[in-house]
Amino acid sequence: MTNNLYEVIDTPIQVEELVQKVERREAGAITTFIGTVREWTKGRRTIYLEYHAYVPMAVKMLSKIGEEIESKWPDTQVAITHRIGRLDISDIAVVIAVSSPHRKAAYEANEYAIERIKQIVPIWKKEHWEDGETWIGDQLENVAYPSGKPTMEES
């Protein structure tokens, strides 16, 4: 275990480890968000996923999100780990832990973190379905390029 608060790793994420990173005597509340690989998305079955990242920039952006949070919600402490590589159903893709003296901030800051991850952190998900594979194109998951190739009809 490292003590880095913001990490992109290619091995399973331990939730307890992130909780420990943000635990403090002045904290009364810790929230965690655990993003797992869901089997079904809009009626389509996922077999497994691959996450790719621009790792150094992804770590930098996670750290930037932490800074944003600690300035918006004073007295919070944030840790985020994102996993990359191949993930199977139910595997943990991301864990966000936020500690705060009071619970309201811990919930709000945590939700802010996942929204920002989906906006600015250079990580991409490739869904492997039963019938093909797709790069998931944006955070709303509604821009998909079948077989990784955008076609003219889509533009």
Partner: protein, 76 residues
């Protein structure tokens, strides 16, 4: 030399993880140059990072910079 990193579907389309370009130019010019070489490239919703920070169309890149073309992200 400017190094341009490719990710996700851009990497698949160009079949390489990075390409190189010479000169000094704005991000907008760099994008236009890319489209001359690869007319089928979809760059509308692609963001650009210079040395691991997001950059704007008018920002200037020069030899030694590392550019990344960032398609809409889908982490989390």
């Amino acid at each position: 030399m400017i190094r341009i990193l490719l990710f996700a579907h851009l990497q698949d389309e160009l079949g390489t993880e990075s390409i190189e370009m010479d000169g000094e130019m704005t991000i907008k010019e760099l994008k236009n140059n890319l489209l001359l070489d690869y007319p089928s490239l979809r760059l509308d919703s692609v963001m650009v990072a210079v040395n691991e920070e997001y950059a704007l169309d008018d920002d200037i890149v020069k030899s030694g910079d590392t550019i990344a073309l960032i398609p809409p992200v889908s982490g989390g």
